[in-house]
């Protein structure tokens, strides 16, 4: 079943002369994990905002086409209605923090209070996400006293606590160390395994290749490609779109080593190891 359907979406920010999103069409099935890639200003963040309704309801501007989120048309529903279906983690956790709460614990409770979750259920959910993102030890700290990495994990935790069926994450691991990013990807994967639909804008291509079912490549607000990581990263024109393939793909491309029985290059450590060992035989 299609969880998200985007049809001919066009959007222009107020005062801007060019389209930020230019005739975008694609659909996402329930439980899929989609990576959105492309150079900065290609339209990744704007697209995420168009799915949660901040575009057009908050930013205004010129809008055309259609976005359906679990059957709701974004244009004709309020941000509040859509927020029950889809939650978004912002690129800069600083922008997301409410500023009205004194502790991490209350900050995570904010979204839950707003959607009227019963108190006992709230406590359970907050404890769960504090644990999942390893921020239990800072639960009584002021959100603005956290390190970049902790703040980013709090931002993700506050959205996940709301248990939306669709989660959008805009570069959620930018401030995290490699161990921390890996943990976030694993947590996101476990949400996917529970049937939650995920869209993530991300620059860490090795991770996108390893975890995403499909990759949406954007350039100047247009869809360049929408396919499996193998197919997208095997393109030889990624440079043109300001993207580089995972290190593993680059090595195999340089050596001309494709995946066994396929016309695509390996995209993960495991696949590259297998293909390169096979070549040596």
């Amino acid at each position: 079943m299609n969880k998200i359907v985007v049809e001919g979406l066009k959007y222009k920010y107020p005062l801007s002369e060019t389209l930020a999103l230019d005739n975008i069409s694609f659909s996402v099935k329930e439980g899929e994990f989609i990576g959105i890639i492309g150079r900065n200003s290609a339209g990744k963040s704007t697209l995420c905002q168009a799915i949660v309704g901040l575009v057009p309801h908050f930013y205004k501007g010129a809008y055309g086409g259609k976005v359906l989120v679990d059957g709701l048309e974004v244009k004709t529903h309020s941000i509040a209605d859509i927020s029950l279906k889809a939650g978004m983690v912002f690129q800069n956790p600083f922008t997301q923090v409410t500023g009205s709460k004194m502790t991490v614990y209350e900050e995570i409770a904010f979204g839950l209070e707003n959607i009227g979750v019963p108190r006992t259920e709230m406590i359970n959910r907050i404890d769960e996400v504090l644990h999942l993102f390893k921020i239990e030890h800072v639960k009584d700290h002021n959100p603005f006293d956290l390190s970049g990495g902790q703040m980013q994990r709090m931002a993700i935790a506050s959205i996940i606590a709301m248990k939306p069926e669709i989660i959008l994450l805009d570069e959620p691991t930018s401030q995290l160390d490699p161990g921390g990013s890996e943990e976030v990807f694993q947590a996101v994967q476990s949400l996917k395994n529970q049937g939650i639909t995920i869209l993530m804008a991300e620059h860490k291509m090795e991770k996108v290749a390893q975890y995403c079912d499909k990759v949406l490549l954007l350039e100047s607000g247009k869809v360049v490609d929408y396919d499996t990581p193998e197919v997208v990263f095997s393109r030889n024109d990624l440079d043109v779109f300001g993207v580089t393939a995972p290190v593993y793909t680059k090595v195999c491309q340089a050596l001309g080593v494709k995946k066994k029985g396929a016309d695509t290059y390996p995209v993960t450590l495991k696949e590259a190891e297998a293909a390169l060992k096979e070549m040596r035989r």
Binding site: G38, R39, N40, S41, Q91, N92, F94, S147, G148, G149, Q150, E171, S174, Q175, L176, D177, P178, G179, G180, S181, H203, E206, G242, V243, T244, P246, V247, Y248, K250, V251, A254, L255, L269, A272, E273, L276, K277, R280
Partner: protein, 265 residues
């Protein structure tokens, strides 16, 4: 250029963030790696004089920094913060970049010259009159880099410069580091992108729980697998792949990999 002796530090009554650090810095480009919370940012804030050590001494270019004010030190050491919003406060890109140079008493004309040169290096020279807050996160990071470069200090420290950068942005940062290095400056960078470290830094220091766990030429550090594991640092992806294939030595770049792969075959 910098000597750090028996340096220890803690925030208020909390447990020690840094314990007994001994380090010397020369002109080699240096990457500082380690987990979030290992003490990396605290360490560079101490070097910059923004925090005062509880014990130990830091000597920068022959001067004990305890005896200098943060203002005096700012002629020698520049630090680009991790979060650009902590740094930006002027109303145009040009004013923002000129602020530092003017504060260290550079002439207005020279300050402008240095500012424009720095903005050219980061690729923002066409946006002089824009309000910094209208820039994207990646552009704000580049703006902050320019603001520090314009002060023309001998030592420049970056705290996670590649955050939010796409591949073009990373290429820019690679070029900036190389240019500063060629000018004889000490470039020190806190960074989590290990393949970027492997390709661009001569020396790597691994921090773990407030201590220096490994230090040396980058290749040597990435060959110390046990230490890296203890510090929860992953080797670069290319190094991991080379290991899986049994290629001897420590491979740091794709080019090295390709050369060795053929010879091993």
């Amino acid at each position: 250029m910098i000597k750090v002796k028996n340096l220890s530090f803690s925030y208020k009554q909390n447990p020690q963030v840094l314990s007994d650090i001994q380090l010397e810095f020369d002109q080699r480009s240096t990457a500082i790696i380690g987990q979030n919370g290992a003490g990396k940012t605290t360490f560079v804030k101490l070097l910059k004089g923004l925090l005062k050590p509880n014990a130990g001494q830091i000597v920068v270019k022959g001067q004990v920094i305890k005896e200098q004010t943060a203002a005096e030190l700012s002629r020698t050491i520049g630090l680009v913060f991790q979060n650009p919003n902590d740094q930006i406060f002027k109303r145009s890109v040009l004013e923002e970049v000129m602020f530092g140079p003017l504060n260290i008493k550079m002439e207005k004309s020279e300050a402008k010259e240095k500012a424009i040169e720095a903005l050219r290096l980061v690729g923002l020279e066409h946006q002089l009159d824009i309000n910094p807050h209208d820039l994207s996160l990646s552009e704000k990071k580049l703006l902050c880099i320019a603001s520090v470069i314009a002060m023309d200090t001998d030592i420049i420290i970056f705290d996670e410069p590649t955050i939010a950068q796409d591949s073009n942005g990373k290429e820019k940062i690679r070029r900036i580091i190389r240019t500063l290095k060629e000018k004889g400056k000490l470039v020190m960078t806190i960074i989590h992108d290990m393949d970027f470290v492997a390709e661009n830094f001569e020396r790597t220091i691994v921090f773990n729980q407030g201590r220096v766990l490994a230090d040396g030429p980058t290749r040597e550090v990435f060959s110390q697998k046990q230490e890296l594991l203890r510090a929860k640092v992953e080797p670069p992806y290319i190094t991991q792949l080379a290991d899986k294939l049994g290629i001897p030595g420590t491979i740091l770049t794709i080019d090295e990999f390709i050369a060795k792969y053929h010879s091993v075959k």
